[in-house]
C-alpha cells in the first residue's frame, strides 16, 4: 500500500492508504476527499483535480506531459510554478510510496 495525505485549509488532513497504481485523483474521489473533483474522469481535460505537492516530494514526481502543462494554466486557484499538478496524472507507487499534497480552495 502507498500513503497519501491531503492537507486542507484550516489544518484538517485526510490520510489514505491506497493500492499502488492509483492516481491522486482516484484516491481522493473514491474516498470522498473534499475539494478534489475529477470532473473529466482522469483525462487531463478539466483541471478540477488540481493539487499543490509539498516541496519535499517534488523530485519524485513524473514529468509534466504537454496535456497536463496546458491544463495547469486553467486551474481555478492560481498555479504554483513548482508545486501545481493534476491529481489524475500522478500515479502512486513505483517509487512514490508516500506523498503529501495541499488541496486548493476551489476547483471550478
Amino acid at each position: 500500500m502507498t500513503k497519501i495525505s491531503f492537507h486542507h485549509a484550516g489544518g484538517a488532513v485526510d490520510v489514505l492508504d491506497v493500492d499502488p497504481g492509483t492516481s491522486i485523483m482516484r484516491a481522493a474521489v473514491t474516498n470522498g476527499v473534499a475539494g478534489i473533483v475529477g470532473e473529466c474522469g482522469g483525462q487531463a481535460m478539466c483541471a478540477t483535480c488540481h493539487v499543490y505537492v509539498r516541496p519535499e516530494y517534488l523530485a519524485d514526481l513524473p514529468a509534466i506531459s504537454d496535456d497536463e502543462e496546458e491544463m495547469l494554466d486553467c486551474t481555478a486557484d492560481p498555479r504554483d510554478a513548482a508545486r501545481s499538478r493534476l491529481g489524475c496524472q500522478v500515479i502512486l507507487g513505483n517509487g512514490l510510496e508516500d506523498l503529501e499534497v495541499d488541496v486548493p480552495g476551489s476547483q471550478v
Binding site: R26, G38, E39, G41, G42
Partner: protein, 325 residues
C-alpha cells in the same frame, strides 16, 4: 420523501446540491444499473486500452451516500407513477410515496435498424456493462468498424487503433463531430486520426451488416463498399428517455431552458417537479443569448446535466441555488 429517478450525472448532482444548500428531507435515488453511480466519460477512453481492466471511477464516494442520508435503490426500474396518489412503483414490486419526484432518466443510445443490426459483435457504448463487453471483444478483434464520427466514435477509434487494430469509421456527414465543432476543428481531428492510421469514410452511412454463424463479419456502407468487421461500435447519438412523462399534463422542456427568459430553469410542466434530464442543454455561453441567435443545442456530454441539475434545486423545498461541482 423525495425520490429521484436516475442516478447519473444529473440525479447525483441534484442530491449533492440539495444537501449542500441545506435540504434535510429524505432522498431516495432509483437507478436501473446495479452499480453505484460512476463516471461515464472514461468508458470510451481509459477503459478501451489494453492495460489491465480499469476500475470504474465513482461519481461520488460511497460514503457520500451514507453521509448524506441517501437511500439508493439500485438495479430497479420505475414501472409506473401515480401522480394523484404520489406513488412510484418499482419493478421489484415495491411502491414508494413521494412529496417531490425528480425525473433524471437521461438518454439512451440511438439504435440502428439496418439489416443485420442484431448480429453479435455489434455494440453500443454507454454503460459500464457496455464498456466491459467491448473491452473483452477488443482483446480478440482484428478489424473494427465504427459507425458515426462523433465524440464516442472517434475516441473509440483512436483507442482501438492504439491497440493495433484496423479501424474504419463510417460517417454519413462530410466531416467528423460536425454538430459540435467548426469545420476547422473537424479538419484538425480528422487529420489527427488519419495520421494514426484510422480510415475515415465521410459521406458513407451504414446500409447493412453481413454475418457468419450469427456474428458480424462485414459492414456494407451506403456507397456500396464492404468493410471487414469482427467488432462494430455504433456511436450515432442518443435519444432522451422521456417515456415516463408522456402522460397528460406533463411535457419535457429540457433543451430549451436557457433560451427563454421566462423559463430560466429546466422544468416539466407537470407538478411532478423539476426534470434535469440528460442530455441537458448547456447554460447560455453568455448573458443575453437567446433562441433567435442560437438554435437549440443538446450536446450529449457530461457538463450539461450537471449544470442543469444544480440550477434545478431552487424549486425544491428547503434549498437555494447551487452550482455544479
Amino acid at each position: 420523501m423525495d425520490n429521484i429517478v436516475g442516478n447519473g450525472q444529473a440525479g447525483i448532482q441534484l442530491v449533492d446540491s440539495l444537501r449542500t444548500e441545506g435540504y434535510t428531507g429524505r432522498i431516495t435515488v432509483i437507478g436501473e444499473e446495479a452499480h453505484f453511480p460512476y463516471q461515464r466519460p472514461p468508458l470510451s477512453k481509459d477503459y478501451m486500452s489494453d492495460a489491465k481492466t480499469p476500475l470504474p471511477l465513482p461519481l461520488r464516494a460511497e460514503r457520500f451516500f451514507a453521509g448524506n442520508d441517501v437511500d439508493s435503490r439500485l438495479g430497479v426500474r420505475v414501472t409506473a407513477v401515480d401522480r394523484a396518489r404520489r406513488t412510484a412503483t418499482l419493478d421489484d414490486g415495491s411502491r414508494l410515496v413521494y412529496s417531490k419526484l425528480v425525473l433524471a432518466t437521461g438518454a439512451a443510445n440511438r439504435e440502428l435498424s439496418v439489416p443485420g443490426s442484431g448480429l453479435a459483435g455489434i455494440h453500443g457504448l454507454r454503460t459500464l456493462s457496455d464498456a466491459e463487453a467491448v473491452h473483452a471483444r477488443l482483446a480478440v478483434a482484428r478489424s473494427v468498424v465504427v459507425i458515426g464520427a462523433g465524440f464516442i466514435g472517434l475516441e473509440f477509434a483512436a483507442a482501438a487503433r492504439q491497440r493495433g487494430l484496423d479501424v474504419t469509421v463510417l460517417e454519413f456527414a462530410d466531416r467528423p463531430m460536425g454538430r459540435a465543432l467548426s469545420p476547422a476543428m473537424s479538419g484538425y481531428f480528422a487529420g489527427a486520426h488519419e495520421r494514426m492510421g484510422v480510415q475515415l469514410r465521410f459521406g458513407e452511412g451504414i446500409a447493412s451488416f453481413e454475418g457468419r454463424d450469427g456474428h458480424v463479419c462485414s459492414a456494407v456502407s451506403t456507397a456500396g463498399h464492404s468493410y471487414p468487421a469482427d467488432l462494430v461500435l455504433v456511436g450515432i447519438g442518443v435519444i432522451p428517455r422521456t417515456e415516463r412523462p408522456r402522460q397528460p399534463g406533463c411535457r419535457w422542456t429540457t433543451g430549451s431552458s436557457w433560451m427563454a427568459p421566462c423559463a430560466p430553469r429546466t422544468r416539466t410542466s407537470s407538478p411532478l417537479g423539476t426534470a434535469p434530464a440528460t442530455p441537458a442543454a448547456m447554460p447560455p455561453p453568455a448573458p443575453g443569448w437567446s433562441q433567435c441567435r442560437t438554435p437549440r443545442i443538446r450536446p450529449a456530454i457530461w457538463p450539461g446535466p450537471s449544470w442543469e441539475a444544480a440550477r434545478a434545486t431552487p424549486s425544491c423545498p428547503g434549498s437555494g441555488p447551487s452550482r455544479a461541482r
